[in-house]
Symmetry: D3
Subunit: 192 residues, 6 copies
Amino acid sequence: MASKPISRYPVPDLKDLPPDMRERILAVQEKSGFVPNVFLALAHRPAEWRAFFAYHDALLEKEGGLTKAEREMIVVATSGANQCQYCVVAHGAILRIRAKNPLVADQVAINYHEADLTPRQKAMLDFALKVARESERVDEVDFAALKGHGFTDDDIWDIAAITSLFALSNRMANFTAMRPNDEFYLMGRVPR
Amino acid sequence: MASKPISRYPVPDLKDLPPDMRERILAVQEKSGFVPNVFLALAHRPAEWRAFFAYHDALLEKEGGLTKAEREMIVVATSGANQCQYCVVAHGAILRIRAKNPLVADQVAINYHEADLTPRQKAMLDFALKVARESERVDEVDFAALKGHGFTDDDIWDIAAITSLFALSNRMANFTAMRPNDEFYLMGRVPR
Amino acid sequence: MASKPISRYPVPDLKDLPPDMRERILAVQEKSGFVPNVFLALAHRPAEWRAFFAYHDALLEKEGGLTKAEREMIVVATSGANQCQYCVVAHGAILRIRAKNPLVADQVAINYHEADLTPRQKAMLDFALKVARESERVDEVDFAALKGHGFTDDDIWDIAAITSLFALSNRMANFTAMRPNDEFYLMGRVPR
Amino acid sequence: MASKPISRYPVPDLKDLPPDMRERILAVQEKSGFVPNVFLALAHRPAEWRAFFAYHDALLEKEGGLTKAEREMIVVATSGANQCQYCVVAHGAILRIRAKNPLVADQVAINYHEADLTPRQKAMLDFALKVARESERVDEVDFAALKGHGFTDDDIWDIAAITSLFALSNRMANFTAMRPNDEFYLMGRVPR
Amino acid sequence: MASKPISRYPVPDLKDLPPDMRERILAVQEKSGFVPNVFLALAHRPAEWRAFFAYHDALLEKEGGLTKAEREMIVVATSGANQCQYCVVAHGAILRIRAKNPLVADQVAINYHEADLTPRQKAMLDFALKVARESERVDEVDFAALKGHGFTDDDIWDIAAITSLFALSNRMANFTAMRPNDEFYLMGRVPR
Amino acid sequence: MASKPISRYPVPDLKDLPPDMRERILAVQEKSGFVPNVFLALAHRPAEWRAFFAYHDALLEKEGGLTKAEREMIVVATSGANQCQYCVVAHGAILRIRAKNPLVADQVAINYHEADLTPRQKAMLDFALKVARESERVDEVDFAALKGHGFTDDDIWDIAAITSLFALSNRMANFTAMRPNDEFYLMGRVPR
């Protein structure tokens, strides 16, 4: 399966990339043991690549009120709704690892209402799905419901902003037919 | 109407922003005569602000196969589908100016099938709407149709990437209840 | 742009129309300064034309509990949902004039939830949209909600009947590819 | 069941109606043996009543390229899609009588694709349903398909206009909870 | 009309069927006066036929908290939503007979919200439609609502299971273009 | 996680079940190493249980033109569309094993258009999804497309019937909140 294309578009060689991009990619490879295909497929457009990962890091790597596992739940649930194969498989792996739970990613991808989540986490995903599918109807009632679960205004921004970033990401991955690395499918499913 | 809030979230004062952000905003103000509210509303989160405008410039300001008016058509048509008041009003104004056509923005926002566009432009918007609404179904038939209208692979990437960026932008604007500046409504409707 | 067809169907000359129709059209022209295309495009079928304008006048010209601006809000919001270019552009102009507000028509057409309206007006449009999209689900709860905002039974009939008439009108305009007059786009946007 | 209300709104007594309305209603009663409830329920608003029946007669009673049974097929198919109980039951009865076929109305109301119709009639209903549900997408391809089945431009107008009138009628009947007369359910099902 | 095919697939002769199937079919014919086409159309696959009717009898023929008329209401309402001609026509007939009501089947098929039902029966159909259309969202709130109307847990299972069986049945009937027997259309409409 | 309930309904003890059911369940346990929860959750209703598994075996265990892996693809793709957690997880495991492919189940569940399938298999799933979502529109064009890929009439019945059975099964699993066994998540992902 190694020979399957990872994008409809040409994928640059690591050696041909600008140094900042190559450096980041090598760091990821060092940490993960492989280069997630999103780093290569989007590298077809360096300026967009830099903006995308800057956005990604601003939301998923920073400190904040949502745990890193919760942020990945948002990614997996909304990417499932958008039928994005790359994002569900790749972020499903990250969710399993961050939540230290081998089951939760598949549950959230298929139907978060039946997943092993807290009521607070389900309320978080209710809101994420509303932003993903009918953001024009977000209103003060939604904010009140989330605050009733203890979310702050900044947590709510995080939920909406992560959902919005993956609204972009899901469409780019679907449009390019971005292929998840085989490695992701098993990550976090078996004790290390 | 001047006192209506422009976002559900606090909006920083220009003087409190980091210099790079303030500088960019002052340049826009210089050019446009006012500061579009998106620059202020998103400034609540500087790191995300920087990523957003880097992405925006990479797609909307660069040279490329699509005219600048065509790029705005993509923004207006998909933002209409997402019922994003800020993006339809603000980018509608920009479209009127870039297309030098006072009618086309309202037409595209309501129903691009009946707008004063070329068949090539309608094919471009057919694809943009597909990426906006059901990107999981994009396939080789779509690429062939676009190439039949003379679009290159890189033009097609531009159509999809602009659509994807505004999938993000529409959701952020809707979620924050971002208010379009009053100035946009009339821009490009009367000869200067 | 003057030469663009205003309908897929033949449009009769004013001089060939029956006297009652010609008289009405000349009166409109006298008042507005131009003949709105709906008067000409529908004149292809005189009997239907007479019934349509009789219905129109019975709902939009009479006295009643809804202001004339509110009635136009109903037209613009439901015509936006039905993506009717003629009705959004033409009645958007009338709404701007009747509400003496240059912004409200675009706001209502794109997303009335974020428009500069009163809660009572938003409740009116919630109901109009329900009649437009899923009238089979209208029930006593809807009536109670409207009465809580001070609407009478006859006001509620007006909301539903205006919505219903434009369910007809939007489909006729879309089917005939009825073109809005250029004049409408700017009406009510600049102080006279 | 005689005591069930036929509308959410007050229904005027025949004797209190203006002479022209009373005369028409008595004529219908004479011909049908009963007064269809739509004549009474809509009489709450005389001016709208007159416009409605003028529109109705202009489309359903005139001579034309579509048979009267075909016009009723359009009413029944689109009213089924709009879940309008009054229109499906009442016009289903008329369709059975005009088509001299006791089965076709139920078939068309549930799923016209499987009804005992000609390919030409199914094409007619394909177009009617498109006008009912997504009129903003009607285009030249639709016209060409209908002409391939022998429909003229004026036949096509009739299909669209009947669909549009019942877009109005279905919403009014649903909104007022208009009750079909018991007599309709059995009409045309048994040989006279 | 007798010669219209009752299925896209070959229909076995009664004499060629295994004895258990033939016996059941003859018993139905004895009782009803004709053989409902579902018994013949599904007989193309004997093992599936046996499972289908075993399932059917387990839900529709047993004793239980729902009346037999109520079970048929579930069938008719959900089959209407799935546009299944065979099931609406055939079970509409059975509903008329079991409810001893010549009107209720057409009402339920078109729009149960406006049918002559009790609030308890409407709550039952609200739940059935939710299971038919978005079963992934069934939750404890639904159970509480039904219990508020006096339904037991086992009644609720019956509602969901009948809905589920006809989710299967509607798809099989639609896929095979199964034709309702002419006899069904009139059954239960006239006093015997 | 062992203590999570596997159904909203009481689950019978194996020892309390009728002998035929217990025997079947023990045989499955013997073969799989555990008892899939569907056998226990549905045992709340023995008569329905027997009908369900008879139907299941008639379609999934028999010989036929579709491979056993292909039948599981149908189950996984349609269960994904219906957001059925039990069926996607359990049949995803079976698909991985039958296809000897650790990746294909997740791909098919999320978006079969981008899965590692043959064009013939994608045509099979196009049809299955049409039966799952809009069976009322199945027509001769669908049959012709499938035959162009070499499917026989009996293969097509199999595709539709498996889809229909899981239309039932998905709704029962969703309604009962049926929980997939933890064992399924990892099955078929690692070489034995």
